[in-house]
């Protein structure tokens, strides 16, 4: 009846005890080992469409047999079933219940129910409503407590079912005939709608019964009622009615709590019954929705704090701590004297219920920090003192909760100021135990000893240190988490620059003042106690400074890295990252992380989580950009396969933007060394070889490393100008100067003296373009073009010349001894980039030629003293526009400011514009104009008329796509994860990173992504705001001004999808962009993305004439093997190394060993001819270079 996997548990349960065990578990797991076999699908929603007809037949049979059974003397069929060792089907169970319910007064049937029927029924995930009548009958007639307990259990399950099968809280085998019964009223089936009111009716009657002997059932009835879905308002009001009805009777009156009533025995009968009812009522109240405005609700919860039942007290406190977050003032006032010394709250401190004390900590924290209570410092201090006393709690859970509360971590919405204040409190405040009259008389000596005021920090540190010595992993994990939170608060305190945070100060200096004060007031103070700390404070460099305490704690934390559990270690590393202060050396941290990462046990999700921690850490302390990037580099090189390139890029970007104007250079440097791009000196090749060894060891991670390097290269090209603050449209160098510096050495010298950041980035990219793998070379070339277009001279010229060299083929690649690339053959000749680069060179060519022409024209006009005619100006302007369009294909430039014809053209173009009333932004066919973006951008902010510095920054940041909302929006997956992580929300199921885990059901994870994406928009806003405040003077101003000027618009950005008009002129740049914005694209499609547009439409750039004044020189100086080969016309031959199957029309099938004639090489492909046609009849076509061995 049930599906085969579902039988498992029932099989097991009904199996014959000893011999059947082995066989049944074997059948349960046909392929042993849960990782290879999916776990049994007990709770799987029963979507398998069994034939409805069969189900109906079954139901019919069941009913008939029930009817028959009703006529005959009762003989249950469970026992024989069991002896036959056949699994019991649901319908059999259901029938047995019907039968046994009729004879529930007999002992034997009660026994059957309790021992056989009900336990087996528990296996199913829901109970169908047709059982309800029998259950209700049992409920009314049966006397047996065990039977009744089961009846309540099942009634609750019927109530909790929301109608859709499998949505009940309990898992188990899907109940078989539910669907049919719910859908069709056929064969006298009972529907949920029929039975629920009856169940509720009966349970309500029981819950309201006042019979004292009945009160245990009352409790269970009330409990079962709370399982009804709270969406039903009628149900809710009924429940409220019952609960308040009970409380009206039992809550008032003297609430003297006597010692001993917590236990099982004790107390007079009336008191105990009342206490039990109080418990039941509060438990039910806890399950009901909060009712903040209702004074009765609050009143009852307050009363609950004084109840005798510990669980009731816990629920009362939980309710109050939740209420307090909504209406602190009311709760605080209502609690009134309960909080005073000797009040009920003090008693909770000694209550043997951990969670009750946890709720107390939260409650106290909420009230003690409430703004609403600023007028009443007395109340606040009362609660504060209770909170501080909880720091001494024997349970770690309570103590840690109290520490977190002190630190200002209450929920996920805390603000920096609160965190900072939390750190201040922790380091400054003193725990003073109040007089506790209830206990003092008995344990006078003891209490006086502990009553000595203690600085919180010392208490906390001591506690944490001892926790770190625990063997329990949860304790270690929690302790590390507390240290992490401590680091967050500390970072917040430093970020806000709280005045007197001097960690060198002796903690006892604060204590001393209080101590002496105490000794004045208390006559019987202990002189030796007060003297001890002061004598210590005279000692130099004692352990008792905050810094000293922290250092010793961190020592213990570090040793915890040795824990076996990878999750604990992850938490420890996060704690270390948070406790790392910007000025300390981070060598130790780095080496810890590096050695950790060599452990293959780390799951990818955890590592990315740590990367996100770096991100969060950076946001808290922007000074740490370089440190954090260094750490990120360790991740990227050590475990490239497990790192999400998106997360890494996000980290880089945030660091770069956040580092501020001064830190930009170092931040970019850190990014570039992130991936150990081949360094200049062979001496420093160590890093590189270590990277290579990683990639060689594992092809998967080699590929991932490749992707990371690509990301870094792309990032470098895209952001170098921003980091260097070098933009062509701000360049002061007249173009003439550039043209004069034709000597390459001079050029490099000039460049690096002018802007070392950009020069450095340039050198790195050039090296990549030569020595990286094929994909990296392409991206490096694209990055260089971007930089050439954006930078002024002499950088542009430098790149121009370099690209030429590259296009001609790389003699240099032979000389540079960079053959140890990332596991890829360089290709036999050239860089293979010729086709790709030529459009880029053409753009630059056009620009230079136009500049030359312009200068010529200007000279002519100057010599002949002629004015520029309108016709000439128009021509000039058209060239300007055309070039702008061209340039925009490669990278983003601000159209208003960018002058492809050089600064010299500015005046003339301006003249033409004013004469013809062309607004700067409204170029003829500017895509931005077409999409309407430019209207928003340019007209709201006429850049030319406002040459203030902010504006420059703004344009620059914007040009580099930094800090725009668009980025946040479109880079959503990573950003989302960051936000989610920062907010600490989300209970979504974890990724299971094994490939052989069962395929997912219909709802894919991507869909869930999409869902979260939609939901977190608010979070993102918060995030943007917080990043703005994190560095008020730099990013804050830039970002906020950007958002205020251009709020919510989408800029053309490589991160974002371009405006649609760009689609027509799709470029390689475009495909790069889309590749990086789409994390899911794998290696193969990346290849397609680059390869196909080039191969299929190499002439998408309509450059007919390719004349270049520098070309001759370039090729002379560097030479070109490819050129030589082609010109000599010697045919080359080769043999196929492997079989190759053509992937397209222009490709050629190869069989290993086949001899071919190599005609040409394009981009890693040989155009080859075979000696005789292959099976497909083709003679010639493209094959990958690597497949052919050149002879």
């Amino acid at each position: 009846m049930a599906d085969s996997t579902g039988m498992t548990l029932m099989d097991l349960i009904t199996a014959d005890p000893t011999p059947a065990l082995a066989s049944s578990s074997a059948s349960a797991a046909p392929t042993p080992g849960p990782s290879s076999a999916p776990p049994t699908a007990l709770g799987k929603p029963a979507t398998e469409k069994k034939s409805k007809r069969a189900t109906l037949m079954q139901i019919h049979n069941d009913t008939v047999s029930v009817a028959k059974a009703a006529l005959n003397p009762v003989r249950t069929n469970i026992m024989p079933q069991k002896q036959k060792k056949k699994p019991v089907s649901y319908s059999q169970l259901a029938r047995s219940i019907h039968e046994l319910a009729a004879t529930s007064d007999q002992k034997s049937s009660q026994k059957q129910l309790v021992h056989h029927v009900f336990p087996k029924l528990a296996v199913y995930n829901s109970v169908d409503p047709s059982l309800a009548p029998s259950l209700l009958m049992l409920n009314q007639q049966c006397e047996d407590r065990s039977v009744l307990r089961y009846v309540y259990y099942y009634l609750a399950r019927i109530l909790s079912d929301t109608g859709a099968q499998g949505l009940g809280t309990g898992g188990g085998i899907p109940t078989p005939n539910w669907d049919a019964l719910a859908d069709i009223d056929a064969v006298g089936g009972v529907t949920r709608a029929d039975v629920v009111p009856r169940i509720v009716e009966q349970l309500t009657a029981e819950a309201s019964s006042v019979d004292a002997e009945f009160h245990a059932r009352r409790l269970q009835a009330l409990k079962a009622l709370t399982y009804a879905p709270s969406s039903n308002s009628g149900m809710l009001s009924r429940l409220y009615e019952i609960v308040f009805g009970i409380l009206d009777k039992v809550a008032d009156g003297t609430q003297k709590r006597k010692k001993g009533v917590f236990g099982a025995k004790g107390g007079d009968k009336e008191f105990v019954i009342r206490s039990n009812l109080q418990y039941a009522a509060l438990s039910a109240l806890r399950r009901l929705p909060l009712d903040p405005g209702n004074p009765a609700f609050l009143h009852r919860a307050i009363q609950g704090v004084s109840f005798a039942d510990p669980v009731a007290v816990r629920h009362a406190l939980e309710i109050l701590s939740e209420l307090a977050t909504r209406d602190t003032y009311a709760v605080a006032m209502a609690l009134g004297k309960l909080a005073q010394p000797g009040g009920a709250l003090q008693d909770v401190l000694h209550l043997h219920d951990v969670l009750a004390r946890v709720s107390l900590a939260k409650l106290c924290h909420t009230i003690a920090r409430a703004r609403a209570l600023d007028e009443r410092p007395d109340i606040k201090s009362q609660f504060n003192s209770v909170l501080y006393q909880l720091l001494l709690d024997p349970s770690e859970k309570v103590c840690f909760e109290a520490i977190l509360c002190v630190l200002g971590k209450y929920d996920n919405t805390e603000r920096t100021e609160e965190r900072a204040a939390g750190w201040y409190r922790l380091t400054r405040e003193i725990l003073k135990l109040p007089e506790a009259p209830s206990v003092s008389s008995k344990e006078k000596d003891k209490s006086q000893k502990t009553r000595r005021p203690q600085p919180l920090i010392k208490l906390v540190m001591r506690r944490l240190e001892s926790s770190f010595r625990s063997f329990s992993r949860p304790v270690l994990h929690a302790a590390s988490r507390v240290v992490q939170e401590m680091g967050k608060s500390r970072a917040a305190a430093f970020a806000l620059g709280l005045q007197d945070i001097d960690e060198g100060v002796h903690v006892n200096t604060f204590a001393d003042t209080v101590d002496s004060h105490d000794s004045d007031t208390n006559g019987n103070s202990h002189p030796e106690n007060t003297r001890k700390p002061s004598s210590l404070s005279n000692g130099t460099g004692g352990k008792d400074t905050v810094a000293g305490l922290l250092a010793s704690l961190m020592e213990v934390v570090r040793t915890t890295v040795a824990c076996e559990c990878v999750y604990v270690r992850a938490m420890v590393i996060k704690a270390l990252i948070w406790m790392q202060s910007p000025h300390d050396s981070f060598d130790e941290l780095e080496s810890i992380i590096a050695s950790e990462l060599s452990d293959p046990a780390w799951p990818a999700t955890l590592l990315n989580d740590i990367l996100l921690t770096l991100h969060a850490r950076f946001k808290a302390t922007p000074d740490m950009a370089v440190t954090l990037l260094e750490i990120a580099r360790v991740f990227a090189t050590k475990v490239p396969g497990k790192i999400d390139a998106d997360v890494l890029q996000l980290l880089w970007k945030t660091c770069l933007v956040g580092a501020g104007p001064d830190g930009k250079h170092t931040a970019l440097e850190a990014v570039t060394i992130v991936l150990d791009l081949p360094p200049p000196q062979p001496g420093s090749m160590l890093g590189l070889t270590s990277v290579d060894s990683v990639s060689a060891s594992d092809p998967k991670s080699a590929l991932a490393l490749q992707r990371l390097v690509q990301a870094a290269v792309w990032f470098l090209g895209e952001n170098a100008n921003y980091a260097a603050s070098e933009y062509a449209w701000e360049s002061a160098t007249p173009p003439g100067t550039a043209l004069m510096m034709l000597d390459a050495d001079k050029m490099v010298a000039a460049a690096s003296s002018r802007n070392p950041t950009l020069a450095g980035a340039l050198t790195r990219l050039q090296r990549c373009a030569f020595s990286g793998s094929w994909e990296i070379r392409i991206i490096a070339a694209q990055a260089l073009t971007t930089m050439a277009i954006r930078s002024g001279e002499p950088f542009r010229l430098q790149i121009y010349e370099f690209l030429h060299t590259l296009a001609q083929g790389g003699l240099q690649s032979q000389f540079s001894e960079m053959h140890l690339s990332n596991g890829e053959d360089q290709g036999a000749s050239g860089t293979g980039l010729g086709v790709l680069i030529s459009p880029m060179i053409k753009v630059l060519d056009e620009m230079y030629r136009a500049q030359d022409d312009l200068i010529k024209e200007i000279r002519n006009h100057d010599n002949t003293k002629k004015e520029w005619t309108d016709e000439e100006l128009k021509k000039l302007y058209e060239t300007h526009e055309k070039l702008l369009d061209l340039v925009s294909m490669f990278c983003y430039v601000p159209r208003t400011k960018y002058l492809p014809l050089g600064p010299i053209s500015a005046k003339l173009i301006d003249i033409y514009r004013t004469r013809h009333n062309i607004s700067a932004s409204a170029g003829f066919n500017d895509p931005a104009v077409a999409t309407g973006i430019s209207d928003l951008i340019y007209e709201s902010k006429p850049a030319a008329t406002e040459p203030d510095t902010l504006d420059d920054d703004l344009v620059n940041a914007w040009a580099a796509n930094l800090g725009d909302d668009d980025l946040l929006g479109n880079n959503a997956p990573a950003m989302n994860r960051v936000n989610e992580f920062l907010a600490g929300v989300g209970a979504d199921a974890p990724d299971v990173e094994e490939e052989n885990i069962i395929s997912r059901p219909s709802v894919s994870y991507d869909d869930m992504w999409a869902k979260t994406l939609l939901e977190t928009s608010e979070l993102e806003e918060d995030d943007a705001r917080s990043s703005g405040t994190s560095s008020p003077e730099s990013t804050g101003s830039v970002e906020s001004s950007i958002s205020s000027h251009f709020g919510g618009m989408s800029y053309p950005s490589l991160f974002s999808s371009r405006p649609n008009t760009y689609g027509a002129s799709q470029t390689t740049e475009r495909s790069t962009a889309s590749r990086f914005s789409n994390p899911s694209t794998g290696g193969a499609s990346m290849y397609e993305g680059i390869g196909s547009p080039i191969r299929e439409e190499p002439s998408s750039y309509a450059f007919e004439s390719f004349e270049n004044p520098l070309a001759g020189r370039g090729s002379q100086s560097f030479g070109s093997r490819e050129e030589e080969r082609r010109s000599s016309g010697n045919p080359k031959f080769g043999t196929a190394l492997y079989d190759f199957t053509a992937g397209g029309d222009d490709e050629l099938n190869l069989t290993a060993g086949e001899e071919v004639e190599i005609e040409d090489e394009v981009d890693g492909w040989f155009y080859v001819k075979k000696k005789r046609p292959g099976r497909d009849g083709k003679m010639a076509g493209l094959v990958p270079v690597l497949y052919v061995n050149q002879s």
Partner: protein, 148 residues
């Protein structure tokens, strides 16, 4: 919120599962995650030795008891330490019901009773009763505190 409570046998078949606040489509995912976690880490673990894991802000504490593995998943106030409390109550109750760390057979024999106990321990995603004796009374439909 206690998101999930799972009990599986030694080869990863689920014996008991209770969810609260976990959408139906995520349950399967949680189940396979937990079973895999157990398969990776529980081998060789001592009885009732607590293991811990976390995923985003969700905590997981799990342990092995005789032939069965117990997993609890929680978030917010149910952090790793609170879950340790929960799992302690569960394991001690199971031991109580079975009389010793259960074999799979024993566990299944007491299946109904264990379900009732769990019902008293976790109630709509919130930890309810923690006291063994009290639980024992409640599953026999006796009041939580008895009068002498």
């Amino acid at each position: 919120m206690l998101l999930a409570l799972l009990i599986s046998n030694s080869v990863g078949n689920i014996l008991v599962e209770r969810y609260h606040g976990v959408p139906a489509e995520e349950r399967l995912h949680w189940r396979s995650f937990l079973v895999k976690l157990g398969a990776d880490n529980l081998r060789g673990a001592k009885n009732e030795e607590l293991l811990v894991a976390s995923h985003k802000s969700v905590y997981i504490v799990y342990t092995v008891l005789g032939d069965v593995s117990v997993y609890v998943v929680g978030k917010d106030e149910y952090d790793e330490l609170a879950l340790a409390e929960v799992i302690f109550v569960i394991t001690s109750t199971i031991k109580d019901v079975c009389g010793k760390p259960p074999t799979e057979r024993l566990f299944l024999d007491k299946y109904g009773r264990i379900c009732l106990c769990l019902d008293e321990i976790v109630w709509t995603g919130i930890l309810e009763n923690t006291d063994k004796d009290r639980i024992k009374r409640l599953i026999r439909l006796k009041p939580p505190t008895e009068f002498s």
